[in-house]
Amino acid sequence: MTPRVINAEYIKTKIIEAIGVLSFRSDPKLLNCMRAARQSETSEIARDILDAILDNAAIAANEQIPGCQDTGTLVFFVDIGSSVLIEGHGLTAIIHEAVAEASRKFYLRRSIVRDPLLDRTNTGDNTPAVIHLSLVDGDGLVIHIAQKGGGAENMSRLFMLNPSSGREEIISNVIRTVTEAGAKACPPLILGIGLGANFETAPLLAKRALFQDLEARNPVAYYAELEDEIKSRINSSGIGPMGMGGNCTVLAVHLLQAACHMASLPLAVNLQCHAFRHLGIRI
């Protein structure tokens, strides 16, 4: 197979461009969800908050100010075709350089510290980014990028359930996660759920689920219904926007499932705050 050669600088430029979009422009589908929630909210304070979220999106876009001061950990899921050859520089080096450059260019907050315990000094340029590489067939290069805030990430959970746990136990653990998170996770939320796989892969599925189109539903009818049930039961909990009460706590639920060991039933719940900043680019 003839390799497809892609220039490293070109990839870097595309990543920086995408980070600029993520930093200032809200996903139009997210804004549609917010407007729909605004229509159906009955609480005055919830409507006040949803209006503030919509105003915030307009100011961020018009004035190039990040919509949230926590411009997050830069997370990358890269699907690289086995016949792609990158010319000039290694892929991970390109990503780290792009993150550092975009952080300076767009005045992103520097939120990454050097070491979890020994040295919590700031690295000063938001590197290292978190990078997940997957080798796939073909000559494509798809890069999914997220700015993931710390508040919702801190309240995300992994449960290693018993295989005898049924649908109800899965739902109640997801509800518990969202309830315990309360205002800390900045609802209305988008939920990424990973079900099955193993200890390290369930959270990866949950995170990957957050990159789906906001309107996407699980292709398996059973799981699509499960997504719907989780959404409607959480929304009837009354937590509401920013935990101040209301019927809009979750905007979307995305579940990805995978085969698992006969002894296991891992469940990972990755919370995404309303500052939803996920984007995929195809190079």
Partner: protein
């Protein structure tokens, strides 16, 4: 929803008139401090040193702003999760702290202490940091510049919207 305007610093008498759920428009000085700044303040108090703030006269804002772009007053301004600062706040309350702004619930021990001390905890909206930046009149580094986003910043605000959460 009751809306009140207040000038900072606020005193115990003004706090006594507040009710949970009130919307308050704050004007005056806010000093930002998050995890690292709180850690340093606690260490200084343990050593008997004087803090860079006077707790009684300071409204602490749990916030790490994004950098100020050229020709702008400030970057994005918004709250971080307050409960991470609960331990340090118990100590700061003993030194007179009366007002703080952040996001999310506080631990039950702290809730009691806030009430017993006649202090107030305000929350403001998370994830609307471009909007909140519009209420900022000026932003400058106040202390501990080496901490980057976790340094203390002095924000002068006008009608900055918060909600009374614990009083």
């Amino acid at each position: 929803m009751n809306t009140v305007k207040l000038e900072l610093p606020i005193n115990k008498e003004q706090i006594r008139n507040l009710k949970v759920g009130d919307k308050v428009l704050l004007s005056g000085v806010l000093i930002t401090a998050r995890d690292q700044a709180h850690r340093r303040m606690v260490e200084m108090l343990e050593r008997g040193e004087e803090l860079p703030i006077v707790p009684r006269e300071t409204c602490i804002f749990y916030c790490g702003p994004s950098p100020t772009p050229p020709a702008k007053v400030c970057g994005a301004i918004g709250p971080t999760t307050s409960s991470r600062m609960d331990g340090a706040t118990l100590i700061l309350l003993e030194h007179g702290l009366l007002a703080m702004i952040g996001k999310g619930e506080r631990g039950s021990e702290l809730v009691e202490r806030i009430r017993a001390k006649g202090a107030v905890y305000f929350t403001c909206l998370g994830g609307v940091a471009a909007l909140l930046s519009k209420y900022v009149v000026s932003c400058e580094t106040y202390a501990w510049e080496d901490l980057g986003a976790e340094a203390m910043y002095k924000l002068v605000v006008k009608d900055f919207p918060v909600y009374v959460s614990i009083v």
